[in-house]
């Protein structure tokens, strides 16, 4: 938990962009930061998001 960028709120919540769990500071070593503000809680979620994107692109094709 940290101060937010705009200073208005006490907390800044960092959530896994795939599964949505809060990534606490103790969870950071397992997390995967792929840039653009996107952080995954672990490699499993990175893989899941990639496979979902692949499945969806096949569906739309």
């Amino acid at each position: 938990m940290k101060f937010s960028g705009n200073g208005l709120y006490i907390e800044k919540y960092v959530k896994c962009v795939n599964c949505g769990v809060i990534i606490y500071e103790t969870d950071l070593p397992k997390s995967v930061d792929v840039g653009d503000g996107k952080v995954y809680c672990g490699q499993w979620c990175v893989n899941w998001a990639e496979s979902r994107a692949e499945r969806n692109s096949k569906k739309s094709a």
């Binding site: 919540y13 962009v17 809060i22």
Partner: protein
């Protein structure tokens, strides 16, 4: 693993949780606890896993583990001492919604922290923009009442008076809140005392090891159930009719991935979070997913965190299934939860139809009100739960007038309601032809008409199913939806909040002033039907007609009698 010891300890711990609940019920001040039973009691270990619970509110039971794990993240175990009581209601860090106050009291044995006694209760008045805590027009968390991150309300057995002052200064009914919060604390006090006796009787190592064995056992039982479902990806969608702010629908979309003994429920594709208070927290979405799976599997599996291990939830942030600060969320736990659970049931209905049910009413009505009582001159506030028809199933009709599947709560009896609050219940009647027709009929809804007896009562509501119908299954037809209607001075035609009070939604609104003699009609939705209505037995249709559940016209035209 000692199966006999496992059974003894499981039964003992469940019994302790029941006893905690009865204490809470009997010592609380508000009808939400002592009549509606909107609370749960559980035992957790130091990892935040739930090892036992009693049969109270499924939404709270499924949400408890994430809340416990969140607390431990913020208050380290070595900072938790004998006699402490921790309190938490923050929806963004594991909580379910702002009214849901959760208390954790540590259990120590032989000088070591072994676990927690947990009580969760829906506090009827939490401050914010409306009396009763359900502002249907909230657009930010600050409208929804006082938010409490994990804090110590009792430190080493001594009340933390500063915290009490802050809490009680921010609500409209401090005397009632004090009584209800103390009731929740009395429940965890009892839980700790009884668990300590259990530790003393059987020894710490036996209790701790058996608790682990018990969760492993539940996991195996749940995996065995999941393995019976064919592997595949199953999708389903449902809609929340509006958010109280804009007249547009919000999608709950799920893909259930079943592989071997694992379930992954992926809600990617659900709508972005709403401006209004229909958003679910992550805890709600996890709980709803567990709830759906518990509904479709062996009810005898001991309810603990073990049975949740095979189930993984993907709920992307900033969506209607995982709200982000500072968006509102109070309706997510009551209205969106059953929709989320319903999408999982709907997704699996194609492959395990014998275990599925059609849609239920999916609302708790959440009719909240407050004012100054003309007789006592004291401010009152009430969170009134009303109930719905459940969906038909492959073997039975839906339950008539039964609390939505996440609540398991009771309706406050008329006598108690009229004594406690300045309303007269003018009529309370089952609704003919409301249950979705089917081989197995959807449960019926009802109409409850109230007359205001006070100079003024301020009402608000956060409900749904006024525009979207509960879906049927396997050829069953939809159930009827609900409504909230008004007659000023008891005269004229019934009108809804859009027509009469210029609100954006008929089902979600804040702070309508009801005056003496005004009438309010709460029309509760029914459940969807299961199977072709023409297949319903002649005897069942005739009984429905005799009971006033089905009209003669519908018996002829829909059921073919």
């Amino acid at each position: 693993m000692d199966p006999i010891m496992m059974k003894i300890l499981d039964s003992s711990m469940v019994s302790i949780c029941r006893e905690m609940g009865i204490t809470l019920m009997q010592t609380s001040y508000s009808t939400i606890f002592n009549e509606a039973l909107d609370f749960s009691c559980a035992i957790a270990n130091t990892d935040g896993d739930m090892i036992a619970c009693a049969e109270f509110c499924p939404a709270q039971i499924g949400g408890m583990p994430l809340m416990a794990k969140s607390i431990i993240k913020e208050i380290p175990l070595d900072d938790i001492h004998e006699g402490d009581v921790l309190l938490h209601n923050d929806p963004y860090r594991g909580g379910l919604h702002t009214p849901e106050h959760t208390f954790f009291k540590p259990i120590f044995c032989e000088g070591k922290l072994r676990g927690f006694a947990v009580s969760i209760g829906h506090i009827a008045e939490v401050g914010g923009m409306v009396p009763g805590g359900f502002p249907g027009e909230a657009t930010e968390i600050f409208h929804e009442g006082l938010r409490l991150p994990p804090i110590k309300i009792v430190k080493r057995g001594v009340m933390n008076d500063d915290v009490w002052k802050i809490i009680l200064a921010n609500v409209r009914t401090p005397r009632y809140n004090y009584g209800d919060l103390r009731a929740l604390i009395s429940a965890v006090d009892l839980g700790v005392a009884q668990m300590t006796r259990l530790y003393d009787k059987y020894g710490a190592d036996v209790v701790d090891q058996t608790s682990k064995d018990l969760m492993d056992y539940s996991e195996r039982r749940m995996r065995a159930e999941i393995e019976k479902i064919p592997d595949g990806i199953y999708a389903f969608e449902d809609l929340v009719e509006d958010d109280g702010i804009e007249d547009r629908q919000y999608k709950i979309a799920v893909e259930v991935h079943k592989t071997g003994s694992n379930i992954i429920a992926d809600y990617t594709g659900s709508s972005s979070q709403a401006k209004g208070p229909i958003n679910a927290t992550l805890g709600v979405t996890m709980s709803a997913t567990y709830n759906a799976m518990l509904h479709m599997t062996d009810p005898d599996i001991p309810k603990n965190s073990g049975c949740f291990r095979p189930i993984r939830v993907i709920a992307p942030p900033t969506t209607v299934v995982n709200v982000d600060f500072p968006a509102p969320e109070v309706g997510g736990n009551t209205e969106t939860h059953p929709r989320i659970a319903g999408t999982v049931i709907g997704a699996l209905a194609g492959v395990i139809p014998h275990l599925a049910m059609a849609a239920e009413g999916c609302t708790h009505c959440n009719f909240v009100f407050g004012g100054v009582h003309a007789t006592s001159k004291e401010f009152f506030a009430c969170y009134d739960i009303e109930v719905v028809g459940w969906g038909g199933r492959s073997f039975a009709d839906g339950n008539d007038a039964c609390d939505s599947i996440n609540g398991n709560c009771r309706v406050t009896p008329v006598e108690v309601f009229e004594v406690r609050y300045p309303w007269r219940v003018k009529e309370w009647v089952f609704r003919e032809d409301s249950g979705g027709p089917g081989q197995f009929r959807g449960g019926v809804g009802y109409t409850k008409n109230l007359e205001c007896l006070n100079d003024e009562i301020i009402i608000s509501q956060m409900t749904d199913r006024h525009k979207t119908y509960p879906w049927g299954l396997k050829g069953g037809l939809p159930g009827d939806n609900g409504a909230t209607l008004f007659k000023i001075g008891g005269k004229g035609n019934w009108k809804n909040a859009v027509q009469l009070y210029d609100k954006a939604s008929p089902s979600k609104y804040s702070n309508i002033s009801i005056k003496k003699g005004d009438l309010v009609s709460l029309v509760m939705p029914a459940g969807g039907g299961y199977g072709d209505p023409k297949e319903r037995s002649r005897e069942a249709v005739m009984q429905d007609v005799a009971d006033g559940y089905v009209s003669k016209k519908a018996a002829k035209n829909i059921y073919g009698l």
